[in-house]
């Protein structure tokens, strides 16, 4: 799914949260959304998911407007051409996982994943012949390697297993776009790598070769990218705090600072010492990864804010070099 952000602005009680954010996310890409706390990452994800409506500007998913249009003249003119997606339509295309969600009652993993089928059920009774829902749920769980978790109770799962179950729930929505808000919170390093590797694999799988297995009807695509509608690959936008994980797993990076998009592009283009110094106020060096070649950010404690102001000039000097 192609996501187009067109000069998106959003305020809460007059305080600007996002200002003039424009970007394009291509189909099949894993996009990292970076920025310090309060930069507007979560808000941008909520806007893309249609949970909030932009004050100005517009968001298009494969050419369709998201959210009810609280529009200016420009967006109004566009709304005449493009159809706007309802909440429910959006839920069939976009799955959003927020930070640290926990269920109010103890569910099994299977029941958690089945919740993802809600947007596809009839409004009133829901489907009672739920075999199709169960099949999709099992496939989704298999896609995150969690088939063995199906009958486990939520509270018995580790943090990493809970996140996998959550992603399976999101996949059960059969989305074209997956939005993850800091999915690595509270995960150990192996679970962090595993999770992002899985998302990476889902996007690559949906974008390319595995469609043959899904179309053939064999194996029902349990290991392929059949979670997306045929012809449109799974696309992911992930809000992250860890710059190195973003550099390792993302195709492109959007860097937010105080509600504005300050840099966009490949990890190599965005993650430069000068940019990082400007946005995060820390001193760092960027070196190529010895094996992958992607950028690795090495932080210098001496450059921490308030640590030694004398270093500030030096830091800027090096950043521009």
């Amino acid at each position: 799914m192609v996501v187009i952000l067109d000069r998106v602005s959003f305020r809460i009680n007059g305080t600007p949260i996002l200002t003039d954010v424009s970007a394009v996310v291509p189909t099949g890409a894993v996009t990292g959304l970076l920025g310090p706390n309060g930069a507007g990452k979560s808000t941008l994800l909520r806007l893309i998911a249609g949970l909030e409506t932009a004050d100005a500007g517009g968001i298009e998913l494969d050419g369709e407007h998201v959210g009810g249009a609280r529009v200016g003249v420009r967006a109004g003119a566009r709304a005449g051409v493009l159809s706007a997606l309802s909440r429910r339509d959006t839920a069939r295309r976009v799955a959003l996982l927020e930070q640290n969600a926990a269920p109010s009652v103890d569910l099994t993993v299977r029941e958690v994943v089945l919740l993802g089928r809600i947007p596809h059920r009839s409004r009133v009774l829901g489907s009672f012949g739920g075999d199709d829902d169960h099949r999709v749920a099992e496939e989704s769980l298999a896609m995150v390697g969690g088939s063995n978790l199906a009958d486990r109770a939520w509270h018995t799962l580790s943090g990493g297993e809970q996140q996998r179950a959550q992603i399976a729930r999101a996949l059960a929505q059969r989305p074209s776009l997956l939005l993850l808000d800091e999915p690595n919170n509270h995960l150990d390093v192996s679970a962090q790598l595993g999770l992002l590797g899985q998302v990476r694999g889902l996007c690559a799988g949906a974008g390319s070769g595995s469609s043959a297995a899904a179309d053939s009807g064999l194996g029902t695509g349990t290991e392929s990218g059949s979670g997306s509608k045929s012809g449109s690959g799974l696309t992911a936008i992930i809000a992250l705090h860890d710059l190195n994980l973003a550099a390792a797993f993302c195709d492109q990076i959007l860097l937010l600072h105080r509600g504005r998009l300050v840099a966009a592009g490949t990890p190599e283009e965005v993650l430069r010492p000068s940019t990082i110094a400007m946005v995060y106020g820390v001193d760092c060096d960027v070196i190529p990864h010895p094996r992958g070649g992607h950028p690795v950010i090495v932080f210098s404690p001496a450059g921490a804010p308030g640590f030694a102001s004398a270093l500030t000039d030096d830091r800027h000097g090096r950043g521009q070099a």
């Binding site: 998911a49 969600a101 269920p103 109010s104 009652v105 089945l114 919740l115 993802g116 809600i118 064999l218």
Partner: protein, 358 residues
């Protein structure tokens, strides 16, 4: 190829597992309905005057105009038809309505302690009802009780709200204050009007009693249960969507605020109708959904129907105990539900998961 076969086998196994779960659930549902009908029948026979189950069926058949109705003594017939049957049916409808209200509130507020009684709705409804009955405010009784319940609900949730969220603990504390206020208001109005045995009447409103049940009580409670309850049961899937909170519900395509207020409005309506005929009976809405989840699982499409049936069964039993233990005097039924409900409340508070509620 082998992998495909294995996957097929796994899927078949999973399907039969699900099939077994479905059969088990339907078994519980059928069993509960049978138990409800039987209990209702037996409850009608219990009381100071001797009535047999045959008398009950014969009286019913006579009034419903069924062919081949046996003769019943006129006195027995009027005991069954005018006194006990309306009372048992009211108890069933009230129990079902309160249990359903509790299940919905627990879901949309994500609060395992939510219940019309603990969050103050029942005393708000009592106050509304007493205003009509004693002060003669010119509003229909269920409408006044509904307005009272709605006002109490809005008050409780606004007091509990802090920083955009409502924690279960704060909700219960706010509910406590509102419940006290509603109870005090109810008592004051009855005492002030002071006709007849005001203490008895105060007790009946505060602790709940089905002693005055008539066919008009049946009409109010059953019609509320059928109309509002049907709407709620049809919204089961939407209730499921709230399991992981508002954002998750919204990203599953639910209009969160609208859905929540419609459902809470329905709960106020249901609670109002039930309190109007029975006073504020506590703990039914709290404990029934928790007990039923053990049988049905957490999904609302299974939880809600079974909660309705077992809520009805529970209150018939409680009311039968209330009117027989100190025969010929009657206990307010709320004493019985509290005796059963408070231990369950304690278990919930002490449970492992409760740490996350505060």
């Amino acid at each position: 190829m082998i992998r495909v076969v294995l996957q097929q086998a796994e899927r078949t196994a999973a399907q039969s597992h699900r099939g077994a779960a479905r059969v088990r659930y339907l078994g519980w549902l059928v069993l509960s309905i049978l138990a409800l009908v039987l209990t209702a029948g037996i409850a009608v026979t219990i009381g100071p005057a001797d009535v047999s189950l045959t008398d009950v069926t014969a009286s019913l058949a006579g009034h419903l105009g069924l062919p081949g109705a046996a003769e019943v003594a006129p006195l027995t017939d009027s005991i069954v038809w005018q006194l006990r049957l309306p009372r048992v049916l009211t108890a069933a409808a009230v129990g079902a309505g309160l249990a359903l209200s509790g299940a919905v509130m627990q879901s949309v507020t994500r609060n395992p302690l939510a219940d019309p009684y603990l969050l103050g709705l029942s005393s708000g409804a009592s106050l509304g009802a007493v205003c009509v009955i004693i002060l003669g405010v010119a509003v229909a009784l269920p409408a006044a009780a509904f307005l009272g319940a709605l006002a109490a609900l809005v008050a409780t949730l606004s007091i509990a709200r802090a920083g955009g969220t409502i924690t279960p603990g704060r909700a219960v504390l706010s509910g406590l204050a509102i419940a006290q206020l509603g109870g005090a208001g109810t008592s004051f109005i009855i005492f002030w009007a002071a006709k007849g045995d005001s203490y008895r009447e105060i007790l009946n409103w505060l602790l709940g009693s089905l002693a005055g049940s008539s066919w008009s009580s049946v009409a109010i409670s059953v019609s509320a249960l059928v109309l509002v309850g049907a709407g709620i049961v049809l919204s089961a899937t939407r209730l499921d969507a709230f399991t992981f909170g508002d954002t998750a519900a919204a990203s599953l395509g639910i209009d969160v605020n609208r859905t929540r207020w419609i459902l809470l409005g329905a709960v106020a309506l249901l609670t109002g109708a039930m309190v109007a005929v029975s006073g504020a009976i506590g703990f039914v809405g709290l404990i029934l959904p928790h007990l039923v989840r053990g049988l049905s699982g957490p999904g609302h499409r299974r939880l809600l129907p079974l909660t309705v049936v077992l809520g009805a069964l529970f209150l018939i039993l409680a009311d039968t105990v209330a009117r027989t233990v100190f025969d010929p005097r009657e206990l307010p039924v709320g004493i019985i539900t509290a005796l059963i409900g408070v231990p369950v409340f304690i278990v919930l508070i002490k449970s492992r998961k409760a740490a996350a509620w505060s």
